[in-house]
């Protein structure tokens, strides 16, 4: 589904992705973690070419992402992206946030799009908020709407970049619950997160990055009990300590 082969990327002199090799199969949930600035966001953003790669091969859903001939807008309709800061459209109601792309990009009929949006709002537990504006919602609610907005395009892949980092602690659970539900439905997912409880429970594999390099790629149980790399051990100790 997603295949990185020797991918590199630089920001000026900064080698932000270094020889990335990663394969995510259909239906898999991969959690990406690592210290701040290690390149996690950049990695996940290359998958839908929000960041172009400089070298190597990246194949998503059978298409070469960096190939100029690839219809990137078409590819992006197959890939949902959920941001740390939600990025809902503030000038549109919840319902219109969700139906905008299906109607304008996928050319779905308005009525059908609305019915589908209502079903999705039901699924994330927000049907009564259909006419609210994003600014009237809590962070957790906004993020659940953002997930519904992505799902409305019927994507084959969902990408999450620290979806709960901007949330108050009491709202993290509701968003993770929606993501867990999604994972169980068989969605292919790449999730950048420091929610290790979620990773342990939901992920098929955990990818640990540091300085643009993938240092470990293991199953959750193995990663949490016996991390190989010193940097991973240190990272886990920090993130799992009760002080954090």
């Amino acid at each position: 589904m997603i295949r990185f082969e020797g991918v590199h990327k630089w920001f000026g002199n900064l080698h932000v992705l270094n020889t990335i090799n990663l394969h995510v199969r259909q239906g898999e949930v991969v959690v990406i973690c690592g210290p701040s600035g290690s390149g996690k966001s950049t990695l996940i953003r290359t998958i839908n070419r929000l960041e172009p790669i400089d070298k190597g091969k990246l194949i998503v859903d059978g298409m070469h992402v960096s190939d100029q001939k690839t219809d990137i807008n078409r590819l992006r309709t197959e890939i949902g992206f959920v941001f740390q800061q939600f990025n809902l459209y503030p000038h549109l109601t919840v319902l219109r946030n969700i139906t905008l792309a299906p109607i304008k990009v996928r050319k779905v009929g308005k009525k059908e799009a609305q019915e589908q949006a209502m079903a999705l709002l039901e699924r994330v537990g927000l049907s009564e908020k259909r006419d609210a504006y994003p600014s009237q919602l809590s962070g957790g609610e906004q993020q659940r709407v953002a997930i519904a907005r992505s799902l409305a395009m019927k994507p084959r892949i969902m990408l999450f970049d620290e979806p709960t980092s901007a949330l108050d602690p009491e709202m993290i659970g509701e968003v993770l619950a929606v993501m867990k539900d999604l994972a169980e439905s068989g969605m292919t997912m790449c999730v950048v997160t420091h929610e290790m409880g979620f990773a342990r429970e939901v992920a098929d594999r955990i990818v640990f990055m540091d300085h643009g390099v993938i240092l470990e790629e293991r199953e959750p149980a193995a990663f949490f009990t016996s991390p190989q790399h010193a940097r991973a051990q240190q990272f886990l100790k920090q993130i799992l300590s009760p002080m954090h």
Partner: protein
């Protein structure tokens, strides 16, 4: 005051009132047409100014600098007197049949104001977080469509105050059209003055009408946007 007998009747009824009224009508027409065109043209120039195609961006840059930094009166004279030399004979013949003063005034007001509007829209667009564009692009919108449906609607809403300002400027600037013979409000007030020597009354009336027009435009645009803006801010 200096034994001057005010005669407001001159401008509130009768022939001269009708002159002023027809002037107002022309001013409203001239302003309304130019506002709509200037807004659309300003939008296009703003998009060109932000284009990734270098020559397009340069053209827009030149356009902005040129039309913002030369006097409107000169531009108006240019379109009225100068364009004859530029246009083909056939076009001139057609234009001579029409109300060419009016057309020249619309062109001058539109182009001049569009340059200011373009800059206002551009700074509005720049104030929208780039994540809005990213979110839209991630859903498969092309750059243009993302602008159209996501970025511009937000940018224009926050650009409303400077836009109102430009609309008001345009309406006031439309009085310059009298210099090329458009029978708008100031022109008619001038006519009334020269026929009656009642300049005080005529220009007071014109002033009040311009004031009312300005307040009307402000009210209209504000009304249209109030609810939307308030909803966006969650008030």
């Amino acid at each position: 005051m200096f034994h001057y007998q005010f005669d407001w009747g001159i401008v509130t009824s009768g022939k001269y009132f009708e002159w002023l009224l027809s002037g107002l009508y022309t001013t409203v027409q001239l302003s309304a047409v130019s506002i709509v065109l200037a807004f659309l043209l300003g939008l296009i120039i703003a998009m060109m100014r932000m284009s990734r195609v270098l020559p397009v961006r340069w053209f827009a840059y030149g356009y902005l600098e040129f039309f913002r930094n030369t006097p409107l009166l000169v531009q108006m004279f240019f379109w009225y007197f100068g364009s004859y030399k530029l246009l083909p004979e056939a076009v001139n013949d057609v234009l001579a049949q029409t109300n060419f003063e009016f057309t020249a005034a619309v062109i001058a007001l539109t182009i001049y104001t569009s340059a200011f509007i373009a800059e206002d829209i551009r700074s509005g667009v720049r104030s929208i977080p780039k994540e809005q564009m990213e979110a839209a692009r991630s859903s498969g919108f092309s750059y243009i469509r993302a602008m159209q449906y996501v970025v511009l609607p937000q940018a224009i809403r926050i650009t409303i105050p400077p836009l109102i300002n430009q609309f008001l400027n345009l309406t006031k600037n439309s009085s310059l059209a009298m210099t090329i013979g458009v029978a708008e409000l100031t022109y008619q007030a001038r006519q009334v003055e020269s026929y009656t020597f009642r300049g005080y009354e005529a220009f007071t009336a014109a002033t009040l009408v311009y004031l009312a027009l300005s307040l009307f435009i402000t009210g209209l645009v504000n009304l249209y946007n109030k609810m939307v803006l308030m909803r966006m801010r969650g008030e």
